[in-house]
C-alpha cells in the first residue's frame, strides 16, 4: 500500500517535471502539443476511491496550470478525464478479479486494452482542453487539427513510456 503511494508520488513529480521542463518546449509545427502528464491519472490504481481520484486529478491539473499560467484550464480537463476514466473502467474491467492493487499499466493489462484506454481518455481530455483554451467556435478547424495531432503525439509518448517500464513478470 505504502509502496503504491510512493510510486505514485514519484510518478507525479517526474511527470510534472517532464511536462514542464521538456514537453512544454516541444511543439511540432505549432500544431502537435504533447500532454503526457495525464499518464499519472491513467495509471492510478483500479481500487482508488472516486473522491481521491478526483482530488488527485484536480491537483495534478492545477499543478500543471501553475506552470502554464492558465489557472483552471488543465484542472477542468483533468476532472473530465477522471470521470471518463471511471466510466471506462467500470465498463471494461471486473474489479473483483484483482488483488495487490494492480494498476492499469501496459504490462498488466496488455497492449490492446491499454491502447484503447489511453486513446479514448486522451481524446476526451485533449478535446476539452483545446476547446476550452480557444473558447470560440470560429477557429474550430484549427482547433480540431491541433486536437487530433496532439492526441496522436500524446498517445505515442504514453506507449513509449509504457514499453520503457515494461515488466513481463508483473502479472502474478
Amino acid at each position: 500500500m505504502s509502496r503504491t503511494i510512493i510510486i505514485n508520488f514519484i510518478r507525479f513529480v517526474v511527470l510534472i517535471f517532464v511536462q514542464v521542463f521538456l514537453l512544454k518546449n516541444i511543439t511540432l509545427y505549432n500544431l502537435s502539443i504533447p500532454y503526457l502528464y495525464i499518464l499519472f491519472i491513467l495509471l492510478l490504481p483500479f481500487e482508488i476511491p472516486n473522491i481521491l481520484l478526483f482530488v488527485l486529478a484536480f491537483v495534478m491539473g492545477l499543478s500543471i496550470d501553475a506552470f502554464y499560467d492558465t489557472p483552471g484550464l488543465h484542472a477542468a480537463a483533468c476532472t473530465l478525464l477522471a470521470l471518463v476514466r471511471i466510466i471506462f473502467i467500470s465498463l471494461t474491467v471486473q474489479k473483483d478479479g484483482f488483488d495487490n492493487d494492480p494498476e492499469p499499466t501496459l504490462s498488466v493489462m496488455g497492449f490492446r486494452w491499454f491502447l484503447t484506454y489511453a486513446t479514448i481518455l486522451t481524446l476526451f481530455h485533449h478535446f476539452f482542453l483545446f476547446n476550452l483554451e480557444v473558447f470560440r467556435f470560429s477557429e474550430i478547424q484549427y482547433t480540431f487539427s491541433r486536437f487530433i495531432l496532439s492526441s496522436v503525439f500524446t498517445v505515442f509518448l504514453m506507449l513509449v513510456t509504457g514499453l520503457l517500464f515494461f515488466r513481463r513478470k508483473e502479472r502474478k
Binding site: 472516486n50 473522491i51 478526483f54 482530488v55 486529478a57 484536480f58 491539473g61 492545477l62 492558465t70 489557472p71 483552471g72 484550464l73 484542472a75 477542468a76 483533468c78 476532472t79 473530465l80 477522471a82 470521470l83 471511471i86 466510466i87 476550452l132 473558447f135 470560440r136
Partner: protein
C-alpha cells in the same frame, strides 16, 4: 431521503465530477482575463450579428427617407454654390459685407409623373406655389437640364420637359463658348437633341461638352450633353450638330427647381426693349 443518499452514492462519480468541474471552470473564468472577456463577448458575437442584420433590414426600409434627405441636402448644397450667386459688385461699394447676392435658388422635388415617348412630354413634380415655385422656373437634375415649369398649382407643378417641341435651351459649347440653341431632335429619341444656330466660324469637335449658357433660366455651366455628330453645311451661316443628352429622362427620380430671382427683371427688360422696337 435515504433514496436520495443512495442515489448520490450510486452515482458519486458524476456528482464529484460536477463539483470539481464547476470549481475548475470557476477558477478558469475568474482568473483568465481572455476567457472572462470572451465569455461575455461570445454572447455579444451572436447578439451583435443579429443586431447588424436587423439594422441592414431596417436601413433598407428607410431608403426612401434617406433618399429624400440626401436630395434635400443636395439642394441645400447647390444653394451654397458660388455659381448660384449673382455678383453684386455695385452693392459692394456701399455695403462692404456682401459680395454675393443669391440669384439662383434650388428646391428639391420628386418626379411623380413622367413621359418620354410622346411628341410633347410633361413631367409632374410634387412641389407647387406653396414651396415657392413659379411658372417659368428652370428644372434640373444632377445630370443636367430637365425642363421648364409650365403650370403651377398649390402642391404640384407640371414641367414642360426638354423632350417637347417648344422647349428651347440657350446652350453653348463648353470649350470655345460658342452659343447656340438646343432643342429636341425630330426623331423622338429621348437621348438625342439638336444644337442649332452656332456661328459658322468655330470648329466644334465630336465629344465636346454642351452646357447651358446662363442667358436664360439656368445658371451657367449646367451640363446638357455631348456633341456626337456634326452636320457641316458648307456655305451656310450656322452650324447644326447632334448632341447626346446627359439626362436619362427614362429614369428621372428627383429634380431641382431653379428659381432665378432676377428672371422677372431680365424678362421685363427684354420685353420693354421689344416693345420699343
Amino acid at each position: 431521503m435515504r433514496n436520495l443518499l443512495a442515489f448520490i452514492t450510486r452515482y458519486n462519480a458524476f456528482f464529484l465530477f460536477l463539483i470539481f468541474e464547476i470549481g475548475a471552470l470557476f477558477i478558469y473564468v475568474k482568473y483568465n482575463s481572455f476567457q472572462k472577456a470572451t465569455f461575455l463577448n461570445s454572447a455579444n458575437e451572436v447578439t451583435g450579428n443579429l443586431y447588424a442584420r436587423r439594422q441592414q433590414l431596417e436601413s433598407y426600409l428607410y431608403l426612401q427617407d434617406e433618399n429624400d434627405r440626401l436630395a434635400r441636402e443636395n439642394a441645400q448644397l447647390r444653394n451654397q454654390l458660388k455659381s448660384s450667386f449673382y455678383v453684386d459688385t455695385f452693392t459692394r461699394r456701399k455695403v462692404t459685407d456682401t459680395i454675393y447676392k443669391q440669384q439662383y435658388q434650388y428646391t428639391v422635388a420628386k418626379v411623380i409623373n413622367n413621359s418620354v415617348n410622346k411628341r410633347n412630354n410633361y413631367i409632374t413634380i410634387d412641389r407647387g406655389s406653396k414651396d415657392g415655385i413659379a411658372k417659368g422656373d428652370g428644372v434640373i437634375c444632377s445630370e443636367g437640364v430637365v425642363g421648364i415649369v409650365s403650370f403651377v398649382d398649390q402642391h404640384y407643378s407640371v414641367v414642360q420637359s426638354f423632350l417637347h417641341t417648344d422647349t428651347k435651351v440657350s446652350a453653348m459649347l463648353a470649350d470655345n463658348k460658342a452659343v447656340g440653341t438646343l432643342l429636341w431632335a425630330d426623331d423622338l429619341d429621348s437621348h438625342k437633341a439638336l444644337l442649332r444656330d452656332v456661328t459658322n466660324n468655330i470648329k466644334p469637335h465630336i465629344g465636346e461638352r454642351v452646357v447651358t449658357s446662363g442667358y436664360s433660366l439656368w445658371p451657367v455651366g449646367i451640363p446638357l450633353g455631348k456633341v456626337t455628330n456634326l452636320h457641316p453645311k458648307t456655305g451656310g451661316f450656322f452650324l447644326n450638330m447632334e448632341v447626346a443628352l446627359s439626362v436619362d429622362f427614362n429614369r428621372l427620380q428627383y429634380v431641382n427647381v431653379v428659381t432665378n430671382k432676377f428672371a422677372k427683371e431680365q424678362a421685363g427688360l427684354e420685353a420693354q426693349q421689344k416693345k420699343d422696337e
